[in-house]
Symmetry: C2
Subunit: 757 residues, 2 copies
């Protein structure tokens, strides 16, 4: 790995100071002359035909500048799965019917928020309510109402995986068990809501300042739905206050703000209320998982079948991908030679599901990890031993899905987590009401399959080298707070041999950057990172060529650079400064700027990911049998992120993941009743706050991932995955009762204990 | 010249719609969270020693966040003439003494404007007044107080030009006359004042949104005075409401806003009041011109001597250049074989002089043109004939100063202006009190001599070609309203063979662009235009290479492109679309973006300019002998701008120049009394408004300038130059009285007529 001067260092986030000082500009901070406020009218019905919409009274209200309905749109259906056009099922504003409570029906732009709100109340929509379906089981029944025509049984997508011979595997197993698991819908709960300011200029070009995880997707989808060319739309990502998967797609606020700006010729701002965040954006998909696993008497897994029904809600969004990932993570992180997966993504009249941190993996991981502990109990094998026996190893592959896994530190993670949590001792000696449980996981480092159907590379980078030795990095990769600006700057500085403070990064603006698909599936460190590394290498070549001449050597491959010094590798005293080399290189080319270009698209790595992270988590809990309250005493995690480009940021991700993982395990749940969210506020929807957090011990297990820049892979999502399983297994350990439904609430605990007694 | 599809068309300014709709964002529109308002404390003395400054009371005022004085600065002396460090005489805030009324002494940042203003009043400065000098004649006397130590007689710069043998020339002349002329200080009067928002971020990098004509100069000078590297300063030029030469340099608001932002960690905005605009920025230099000209009996000019004293005020700024230009334009636009120039730039305790539209040329042109009419009268030659006889022609040069002039339409301009104004008839037949006069002029198309001492090319451009056929142009060239965004977009579209609407220009942001010196000396069309044309050519080569393969030809030189179609020149039916060629070209290079780069620095063109514009103007006036009021009935102008890239914008420039020219001729004048401006408001300082304007007829005389893109040269400044001379000559024609002082006021007319009577 060599010795690095910037990579691998605990460097504070380059954006943190400006944020803690309150000086960071978010989309909601943008004020423009003449800016209007937009609001969206939403359906009160879960399923209804729109008979008519009367906007005349709203349009007459003083201060209202425009009112739009589906008729003002081009009626283009859009979505994320552009490789399969029949899955594009969303409309900017509903044309003929509404499909969930909150579906967008009309929008207004007015001089202020109160006027916009009043105008919404003056719009009269005549609906014909239709019968609706609220659970996937109902929806799949024969004769159930169809949410979208043409999808019998409301199944929009089926995904299957077949590896080996599952039936034969079960026959050859010594022990086979089958369990059913249910997971809940969860909200991403970014502190910053969806917010944008759209400005359609007089020349017909659109600029939108947007809180988004993918300036590129928003650019393309706005162009598609508004009838523009892609580059007539400029998406600028200011600072963003979190996304967690809920800002990957184009949302109605982006579409309506843009169309209203076009109609009014003025900038239009639309910010979602917290209630809108909870009810009309996306949620983590609820799943019903039937898992059947066969093992040898020594615990070796021989076969598994996973059948999943995914409540996708009213629109597909990214859930066709979710469904594949759920199939993948019913298997990984274990070696399962015979595996069968059948997943159904089902339309219901609920809020749409979508991607969320740990995309697709949480429900099947919960099922797999809890079932493994039931098997361990049955076979009287220590859960740690059972996992070590079946853990994926470097060099493994998943036929047809994942090509060779080039780095895997899972076994080491299991051992380290067990050791740090004092597993061996505690598993046997915990006091009454205490329990300890383990769960393992794997996650992607950047999606591969091109469901968005882009012609562009997945990531590109441009590097401009200035005469004073500073370097500008232009990338479309958006930092949402996760730290990609810092990591990409480190990669650039290391590759180019300069100091971190010499890098200025301009990120997430489509106008100043070239291709990048956005911040999701933990893709930026590997995909954007590789593009940045290549662009830096390209620029370095241009400078080394001249530096080599100055240092009197013929092959510039003999040179190296570090911290702003270029030197002969074998004679480190023979050196010139980076700035001097740059200005010589520029003069040699008539002053022309030194520009480096780089691009990366993963190739030959299978269907899902270019690399895989792994980890293990141990939860130690204390349970009050009377109140049902579970107190987590400690979470111990070991995570294999390849080379940690920045251990400080990795730790931050691991801490944040623990908080989100605990919420999903113990408290977070969107409650639906006939399609209506019952708890759309932070008063009723319970997050784990900093004060609620137990001790969290994070162990970084470094491996070297050959596909990643400097050996790096994912660190931002994987660790959200195991907590449901680890906590449930700890409760099983404490009580002997299995909890196969998330979240594990005090009420559920009390009921289960009563049933057992 | 070929046939063009974008160049030469009357295309409305690409920014005009957004401006007329009030949606354009200017620096003063920028609001940022936590933004403070800055104000500057200014000297009430024209010349004084600073004994002490007590800021304690101001700093204690609630709401005041920072108070700075010279002691808080690095004390770096700066200026524009970096090739001669001894001429760098300005300080961010005065260190030891003040040199004019309005010199900056301290600055505050507070939560609002009222608090900032109140804080200024609480700062106590103890001055020791020094004797001051207010006219250059006083200043040059032996024993006069020195404004800056080390400059005897307060002369900071002397410039001389010597061509041929002047003494011999006068001896050989049939008629020699000598006159003295005086011109006034004039204010630029941009509608938008100097305004900026500076934001020093926590990482020590500075971003400034700035109303400036040169993001580059501001970047470098802020870096110099604040001890930063150039690229740690980002200058962003939003829409700008005019500059006219007064926003080329770095001003105190830019320096103080940046330093206050550094001290407070918050964004700081400083906007000059109109009074500050009038008193502490820059002014057109007042000159005293002694001109001696010898001619043959037929009117052929044989020799000229020009001696100029330039009141430069308290600091050099750009006036060393002004002084050279005044020497140059004592000669041009005429052939003068024997010429001697002696110019002195003198320090006084007045407001500093600087560049203004028609930089350096107005005073000597006024002198020369009025003197020519006096000679014409003496020799009884028609002024038009006299000018035609002496007019510079294509192929001429000015030894040691200007190499071969490759395009010159002056004679044609004179003829056309005379014809259109009905000169021959009117010169003889005008009624009592009416007069008609002519003046000619020449101007630069972009400065050459590198007085700023930059290592960079004078202009660069980057062109990014997108797959949808759109193109991004990145340039540091700032559009101030003059239309460079439009002209550069046209040049790009024409060269690349695409439509204008396919170009998106991002201009004037140092972070997203490479070198450009800024908008001054009418340099952008030629210098930035050449860089853009070269960058487009570079990108075109990359696309043609692939398009050629697709069209089955070996040499892509056989291709041509127009309006988004690439075709074989000899077989225009064989074509592919630009967008298709781009996406093929990108695929051929692994998706790597198509980027074009271009750079231009004028070479081998002498000391002053790469090309020269020419023109002639006829003024017809009516004079009321009783009130002295002069009414201009019509201005007729013919201007040689080479190829007019956009005739609509050329006409706009000519109209605006006429308005500014008339103001300088008849009404505009900053009145000073002991160094204090007496009329610092639009109530007392009289501009020509739209309603005051006479009929203006503008004739564009197109030539082909080989150095310019598509043959283009200057159109934005030259026409401001002749109006003083043309009007004075018309008054001479009407009254027989010579007016050798600007402006020609009603009071002056009455007094002169009384003297004559």
């Amino acid at each position: 790995m060599g010795s690095y001067s910037v990579v691998g260092k605990e460097i504070p986030n380059v954006d943190s100071l400006v944020k803690v000082k309150g000086a960071a500009l978010y989309a909601g901070d943008i004020k423009m002359p003449g800016m209007l406020i937009g609001k969206i009218l939403r359906s009160p019905h879960a399923h209804a035909k729109i008979l008519s919409i009367d906007t005349t009274r709203a349009a007459r209200l003083p201060g209202v500048k425009s009112v739009i309905t589906g008729k003002d749109t081009l009626g283009v259906k859009y979505g994320m799965w552009r490789v399969r056009p029949e899955l594009l099922d969303e409309e900017g504003l509903a044309m003929e019917k509404v499909r969930f409570i909150g579906d967008a029906v009309a929008a207004v732009a007015a001089i202020d928020e109160d006027t916009a709100q009043e105008a919404l109340e003056l719009i009269q929509v005549d609906y014909e309510p239709l019968p609706a379906v609220f659970t996937p089981e109902e929806a799949m029944k024969e004769g159930a109402p169809l949410v979208h025509d043409g999808f019998e049984g409301n199944v929009s997508v089926v995904r299957t995986i077949n590896i080996g011979d599952v039936e034969k595997g079960f026959t050859e197993s010594d022990y086979v068990r089958e369990d059913r698991f249910v997971t809940q819908p969860v909200q991403h709960s970014s502190m910053e809501p969806h917010v944008c300011v759209a400005d359609f200029d007089a020349s017909g070009k659109l600029t939108i300042w947007d809180s988004t995880q993918s300036p590129y997707f928003v650019q393309v989808l706005l162009a598609t739905t508004l009838g523009l060319r892609e580059n007539d739309v400029r998406v600028v990502k200011p600072h963003v206050g979190g996304g967690f998967g809920n800002k990957v797609e184009m949302f109605t606020n982006e579409f309506c703000a843009s169309l209203l700006s076009k109609k009014t010729g003025r900038p239009v701002r639309i910010e979602y209320t917290r209630e809108e965040e909870f009810t009309v954006t996306r949620r983590r998909q609820p799943e019903i998982i039937e898992m059947k696993t066969g093992v040898k008497i020594d615990g070796t897994i021989v076969a598994r079948e996973s059948r999943i029904i995914l409540d996708g809600g009213a629109y597909n969004g990214q859930t066709p991908t979710t469904l594949l990932l759920s199939g993948m993570f019913s298997l990984l992180p274990y070696r399962i030679p015979n595996y069968r997966y059948h997943g159904s993504r089902v339309y219901t009249n609920n809020m749409p599901s979508g991607a969320m941190r740990g995309h697709g993996a949480l429900p099947p991981n919960f099922a797999s990890e809890v079932q493994l502990d039931l098997i361990a109990g049955e076979l009287e094998i220590d859960p740690v031993e059972l996992r070590l026996k079946n853990a994926v190893q470097t060099g493994d592959s998943v036929p047809g899905i994942a090509n060779e896994i080039l780095s895997c530190g899972l076994s080491e993670c299991i051992k380290k987590a067990a050791e740090a949590s004092d597993w061996q001792r505690k598993r046997k000696q915990l006091p009454e009401g205490h329990g300890i449980g383990i769960a393992c996981y794997s996650f992607t480092s950047g999606g591969i399959f091109n469901w968005f159907n882009t012609d562009l590379p997945f990531s590109e980078a441009l590097v401009k080298v200035n005469e004073d030795g500073t370097v500008n990095l232009y990338t479309r990769a958006p930092d949402l707070g996760q730290g990609s600006n810092t990591v990409l700057s480190q990669i650039l500085a290391e590759e180019l041999g300069i100091k971190l403070e010499d890098v200025k990064i301009l990120a997430g603006d489509t106008e100043t950057s070239t291709a990048d698909l956005g911040a999701w599936s933990s893709r930026l460190t590997i995909q954007a990172g590789n593009a940045v590394k290549r662009a830096a290498f390209d620029a370095k070549g241009q400078i080394f060529e001249i530096a080599g001449e100055r240092l009197g050597i013929r092959l510039h491959e003999e040179l190296d650079a570090k911290e702003g010094r270029i030197y002969i590798r074998e004679r480190p005293d023979k050196a010139i400064s980076f700035a001097e080399a740059v200005s010589t290189a520029k003069r040699a080319k008539g002053g022309m700027p030194v520009m480096g270009r780089g691009a990366y698209t993963p190739r030959g790595k299978g269907l899902v990911s270019a690399a895989w992270s792994f980890g293990a988590q141990v939860a130690e809990i204390e349970l009050d049998r009377e109140t049902g309250i579970i107190r987590v005493l400690k979470l111990t995690t070991a995570h294999d992120c390849g080379k940690a480009i920045n251990p400080l940021l990795v730790d931050g991700q691991l801490q944040g993941s623990a908080q989100m993982g605990l919420g999903g395990a113990l408290s977070e749940q969107l409650l639906f009743e006939d399609g209506r969210v019952q708890n759309p506020s932070f008063r009723d929807y319970k997050l784990f706050t900093a004060a609620d957090m137990p001790e969290v011990e994070s162990i970084v297990v470094e491996t070297y991932e050959p596909e990643g820049p400097f050996g790096a892979k994912e660190a931002g999502e994987g660790l959200t995955i195991p907590t449901g399983g680890a906590v449930s297994n700890a409760v099983l350990n404490a009580t002997g009762v299995v909890f196969n439904k998330l979240p594990i609430t005090p009420q559920g605990v009390v009921e289960s204990l009563e049933q057992k007694a």
